[in-house]
């Protein structure tokens, strides 16, 4: 299977291990990812609150390239995915202000998570499991922009998404239910109001701990960064040491598919999850 691939800026930098594990997992599954030629930043959280047209034009420049390639477009970053969907709807529905672009609105835009649980891929994952994640207790965290708003993302279960739950259950992990799947981590306030991020991400970590889970799995580079890098500030806030491992779901998938690169990804986390995995006999 061949698809177009838009990594976005984070997967080349702060979300490096999300990018590397995505490439590895797709290679194992025989999925050919064709990175969009000369792609540009989608403008993410900053363009849409500065100028609507600029935000749509930044995303559509990439969509034009994808349309020329003629393949489905797969995006691992939640924010990029949502910005591409906003541009798609804007053009498909002929919304104002009119944006000058040759884009026809014909490229199927998919978040990586939704793409991987499509029937054919789900089947190859099932057949490819070499090391089931038995004994690993995990909560799935989707964040905001994979599902919201549903009129943009086309998500059905936008208050209680299931894709990651299904995928990690298939891998043998014990997936715990919790009510914070789509609560916000504080997103782009990371630099400008870290106090708010520490509050919101701190609550998520606390609530994840309360379920009895060992760790949290994410599908967005900003969510993972906020949950992983803010734990020393969260510890200060809560008055106790917090060290709660945060994975990208692709890292867990890579592990179950028997990838030899897992440690290379995990050692890049601020809260190193390798001790947890060793204690569960998974590493």
């Amino acid at each position: 299977m061949k698809v177009s691939y838009y990594p976005g800026c984070s997967l080349h930098s702060t979300g490096l291990e999300y990018g590397k594990s995505t490439l590895e997992v797709c290679e194992i599954l025989g999925i050919e990812l064709n990175e969009l030629t000369d792609w540009n930043c989608c403008g993410a959280s900053s363009a849409h609150c500065t100028d609507e047209v600029l935000a749509i034009e930044l995303a559509t420049r990439n969509l034009v390239t994808a349309e020329e390639a003629g393949l489905d477009l797969v995006i691992p970053c939640a924010a990029c995915f949502q910005r591409f969907k906003v541009a798609e709807k804007h053009i498909q529905e002929g919304k104002k202000p009119v944006v000058d672009t040759p884009y026809q609105g014909k490229v199927p835009i998919k978040h990586l998570l939704d793409f991987l649980i499509e029937e054919e891929n789900f089947k190859s994952i099932k057949e490819g499991i070499k090391k089931p994640l038995n004994g690993l207790k995990v909560v799935c965290y989707y964040g905001c922009l994979i599902t919201r708003p549903p009129k943009v993302t086309d998500a059905i279960n936008y208050e209680n998404p299931q894709a990651m739950d299904e995928l990690l259950s298939l891998l043998g992990a014990e997936v715990y239910p919790w009510s914070y799947k789509t609560d916000c981590c504080g997103g782009s306030l990371m630099l400008s109001r870290p106090d708010i991020v520490v509050q919101l991400s701190g609550k998520l970590i606390q609530k994840a701990e309360e379920t009895g889970a060992d760790c949290v799995a994410t599908a967005c580079p900003l969510c993972q960064a906020n949950l992983d890098t803010k734990q020393s500030a969260i510890s200060k806030n809560l008055g106790r040491e917090v060290r709660f491992p945060t994975f990208y779901f692709t890292e867990l998938l890579g592990m179950a598919l028997g990838s030899g690169e897992v440690s290379q990804w995990l050692k890049k986390h601020v809260v190193d999850p390798r001790d947890l995995l060793k204690s569960r006999g998974l590493l």
């Binding site: 984070s10 702060t14 993410a44 919201r148």
Partner: protein, 195 residues
């Protein structure tokens, strides 16, 4: 006779904002679903449903000077849940733009500085150069001194160093070939042209 504090609804501003956002604030029946689900409500000076109501009352200056419009994280909970299908997050975007244009003092400066730092980075290279953007943000935000005093700069530097060591913050920015195209998009923005 009306007292001086009476609010005289200014429908002109309501109409202006409904046009710029493409959203109907008038459809709101004040059920407060937006504010109940807002993750940053605890830090806001005006709650989302209050903002919508104040738009309808024409309280332009109060709304445009509020910190709330800059604290909104665009999580889209309000937009997803509004029973009247109002895209509240899009209205907040329109308010941020109107606030910058109005020349009023921003109710919360730092998020706006952050967005400007991100955009100027994209404008230069076509992609976000995170290390450069962070540097530019720290310089422009004027937070350096208070962050040194509070110790948060040291804390951030520790995390930053760990990210840098792991290759997650790169020294050299990625430059795309189509930089000219990107610059053109930004130029149009500066000139206020619409496609």
């Amino acid at each position: 006779m009306q007292s001086e504090s009476a609010i005289i609804p200014n429908h002109a501003w309501l109409a202006e904002l409904e046009k710029s956002s493409g959203e109907s604030a008038s459809s709101c029946y004040q059920c407060k679903t937006c504010s109940s689900g807002c993750p940053v409500a605890f830090a806001m000076d005006l709650l989302p449903h209050q903002i919508i109501h104040m738009i309808r009352m024409g309280l332009k200056e109060m709304v445009l000077k509020s910190s709330s419009i800059w604290l909104c994280v665009s999580c889209e909970s309000c937009t997803s849940r509004c029973p009247n299908d109002i895209d509240v997050a899009k209205i907040i975007d329109a308010l941020r733009m109107a606030s910058v244009k109005s020349g009023f003092k921003l109710g919360e400066k730092r998020p706006s500085v952050f967005h400007n730092s991100v955009l100027s980075s994209i404008k230069k290279t076509g992609r976000l150069y995170e290390l450069g953007m962070i540097g530019s943000y720290v310089l422009r935000s004027g937070d350096m001194v208070s962050n040194i005093k509070s110790g948060s700069l040291l804390e951030d530097a520790k995390v930053g160093w760990k990210l840098f060591k792991n290759g997650k913050l790169k020294l050299i920015p990625e430059r795309i070939k189509g930089r000219k195209e990107i610059k053109k998009l930004f130029k149009k923005l500066k000139r206020g042209e619409r496609g």
